[in-house]
Amino acid sequence: MTTTVPPAERADAGPPSLRRSALAPRRRITNRIAMVLITLALVIAVVPLAWVTISVLARGLEIMSWQFLTEDIPNSYRRHGPGMAPAIVGTFLITGAAALLAVPLGIFGAIYLNEYGKQRPLAQVIRTMADVMTGVPSIVMGLFIYTVVVVVTGEQTGFAGALALACLMLPIVIRSSEEILRLVPDDLRQASLALGARQWRTILTVVLPAAISGIASGALLAIARAAGETAPLVATIGIAFTVNPNLFSGQNTALPAQIFRNASQPFEGAQERAWGAALTLVVIVFVFTVVARVVVSRFAIKER
C-alpha cells in the first residue's frame, strides 16, 4: 500500500491525485463502485417520488373540475363522475379544529421544556416521551379516541377525529417549537428580566414574538402531516356523503378517508374519485409545506 506510490509522482500531482492515479486497481474500483452506489441511492429515492407525483397528476386531472370540488359524493361506488366537496370541507374543518387544540397546547409545552424545565429530570422525561409519542402508530391514536370519546358519547363525529389528529400533532408541535425557542438568544431574556419584567411577561412579550415565525412554520408542517392522516379518522368520524359543517354532531368525512375507501373498491368510478381526492389532498399538503418554507425564509432574512 505504501510502496505503490513513487515519490516523484506524488510531488507532481499533490494529495488528491495521489488517491486517484496511483491506487491499486482493486481499491480504486471498490471506491468507484461504492461512490456510484451511494449516488444511486438518491436516484432510487427520486423514482417513486416522481412516479407517484406523475400518477397523481395524470389520473387526478382526468376527473378534476369545478363540479368535483363543489358537489356531493355519489353514494354508489359504481357511479362515475364528480363530487368530493364533503371530504374537502371535512378535511379543512377537522384539521383546523385539531390545529386549534394542538398548536397552543404544544407551544405552552415547549415553553415549559425550554424556559422552565430545561435539563431537569422531569423535562428530560417529557422530552423523551414526546419523541416516543411521535412514533405511536396513528391507528392507535384512533383507537384511543374511539375508546374515550366515541364509546362514551355513542356517536362518531368530526370532533372525535379532530381530537385524534390533535394527539398526533401535539408532540410534533412541542418538539419543533422547542427547537425554535432554543434559538432565541439569551440576551433578549436577560434584557427583559433586567428591566424588571417577570418571566411570564418576558416569555409572552419578548421570547415568543422573536420565535413566532419559526413556531408557525413548525405548526404548519405538523398541520400538513395531520391533514394526510387516514387511520385515526377511520375509527372516529364515520362516513358522510353530504357536507356536514357541524363537527359536534353527525358523522363526517375527509379526503384521506375517501381515498382509502374508494381505493379499496374494484369499481372504476370509485378509483377515479380516489385519484381526484388524492390530487386535491396533495395540493393542500403541498401548499401548507411551501407556506411553511416561505415563513421560515422570511424569518431568516429578518434575523440578518
Binding site: 402508530p137 375509527a235 380516489a274
Partner: protein, 332 residues
C-alpha cells in the same frame, strides 16, 4: 441568589403592581407544566383505556391471543377465536423487507448528503427527501395498489421462475398472487415510506463525525470509501442502529398503505409473494364491521402494537441520545 430575589422584590411593585405578578407567574409556570405533563398523561391514558376496552377479548383468549394463528371472528358454530399470530408475522415480514430495502438506500442518501454532495446539489437532495415525507401515506397506498402492484406481478413471476430450481429460495420466492398484493409489495411501499425518517436521523448522526477523524483517514491514504468504512461508520454505528430502529417503529405502525397493498389474507407462509395481513392493517379493514368482543380483539391488537412501538421507539431514542452524548463528550 437571595440578594437577587430581594432586588427583584424591590423593583417589581412599580412595574407589575403588587403580589399579583407573583400569582400570575406561578399560574403561568404551572399551566406550562400542565401542558408538558399532558404528553405523559395521554400516553398513560392510551395504555390504560385501550387495555380496559380490549379486556373482554384478551381475557377470553389469554396468551393464545398472540400465540394462536386462528382468527375467526364469525365462526359457523362455537365461540369466535382471535389469534393474531398471522398478523404479527405479517407485520414482522413486511417491516423486515422494508428495512432490507429502505435502510441501505437511506444510509446511502445520508452519506451522499454528508460526504459527497456538492453544496448546490445538497439543497435539492434534501428537498427530495422532504417531499417524500410530505406525501400522505394513503396516496402511497393508492399508487401502490392501482399502479405499482399490477406491474410488480410481472417482476415477481420472473423472480419466481429464476429461483424455482434453488432449494430454500424457491419457497421464499414462491408462486406470486395474481393481484400483486403481497408481503413484498407492502415491504416495497414501506421501504419508500421509511426513507425520510431513516435518512434524516442517519444524516444527523453522520454529521457528528469529527472532521479531524476524516482528515486523519485521508492523510493515511484512504480512499473515500475506506474513509467512510474506517472513520465514519465506527464512529456513528450506535446512532445508525437507532435510526434503523426508528424506521422499524414507523414501518410496524404504518396502517393505511399496508392495508391497501398487503392482500388481506390470514396467512403464515415463507412465500413473500403471497398475500397476508399486518396488525395495523387488520384493524382498519375490519373495524367498521366489528361489534362486541370482535371490536375488543381489534383494540387488543392496537394495544400490542402500541406496546411494541413504544418499546422500540424508546430504545431507539436512548441509543441515539447515548451515541450523541458520547460524540459530544469526545469532541469537547
Amino acid at each position: 441568589m437571595s440578594t437577587r430575589t430581594t432586588k427583584e422584590e424591590a423593583a417589581r411593585p412599580a412595574l407589575s403592581g403588587g403580589s399579583g405578578g407573583v400569582r400570575v407567574e406561578r399560574l403561568f409556570s404551572w399551566w406550562t407544566l400542565a401542558t408538558g405533563l399532558l404528553v405523559l398523561a395521554i400516553l398513560a391514558l392510551i395504555l390504560i383505556t385501550t387495555t380496559k376496552q380490549a379486556w373482554p377479548a384478551l381475557q377470553d383468549m389469554g396468551l393464545r391471543f398472540i400465540t394462536s394463528s386462528t382468527w375467526d371472528p364469525n365462526p359457523a358454530s362455537g365461540n369466535p377465536v382471535f389469534g393474531s399470530l398471522a398478523f404479527i408475522y405479517g407485520t414482522a415480514v413486511s417491516s423486515l423487507i422494508a428495512l432490507l430495502i429502505g435502510v441501505p438506500i437511506s444510509i446511502g442518501i445520508a452519506l451522499f448528503l454528508t460526504e459527497l454532495a456538492p453544496r448546490r446539489l445538497r439543497g435539492s437532495a434534501v428537498m427530495v427527501v422532504d417531499m417524500l415525507a410530505a406525501i400522505p401515506s394513503v396516496v402511497f397506498g393508492l399508487w401502490g395498489v392501482l399502479v405499482l402492484a399490477p406491474l410488480l406481478v410481472h417482476v415477481y413471476r420472473w423472480v419466481h421462475d429464476v429461483f424455482a430450481p434453488v432449494p430454500g429460495l424457491n419457497s421464499i420466492f414462491g408462486e406470486p398472487v395474481g393481484t400483486g398484493r403481497s408481503f413484498m409489495t407492502a415491504g416495497v411501499i414501506l421501504a419508500i415510506m421509511i426513507i425520510p425518517i431513516v435518512t434524516s436521523i442517519s444524516r444527523e448522526v453522520l454529521s457528528t463525525v469529527p472532521q479531524a477523524n476524516k482528515d486523519a483517514a485521508f492523510a493515511l491514504g484512504a480512499t473515500q470509501w475506506e474513509m467512510i468504512t474506517g472513520a465514519v461508520f465506527p464512529h456513528s454505528f450506535g446512532g445508525l442502529v437507532g435510526a434503523v430502529m426508528l424506521g422499524l417503529g414507523r414501518a410496524m405502525g404504518e396502517t393505511i398503505a399496508v392495508s391497501l397493498v398487503i392482500g388481506g389474507a390470514t396467512n403464515i407462509t415463507p412465500n413473500v409473494f403471497a398475500g397476508g395481513n399486518s396488525m395495523a392493517a387488520v384493524i382498519v379493514q375490519q373495524f367498521g364491521e366489528s361489534t362486541g368482543t370482535f371490536t375488543a380483539a381489534l383494540i387488543g391488537l392496537g394495544v400490542v402494537l402500541f406496546a411494541m412501538t413504544v418499546v422500540i421507539n424508546l430504545a431507539a431514542r436512548l441509543v441515539v441520545r447515548r451515541a450523541e452524548i458520547r460524540v459530544r463528550g469526545a469532541a469537547t
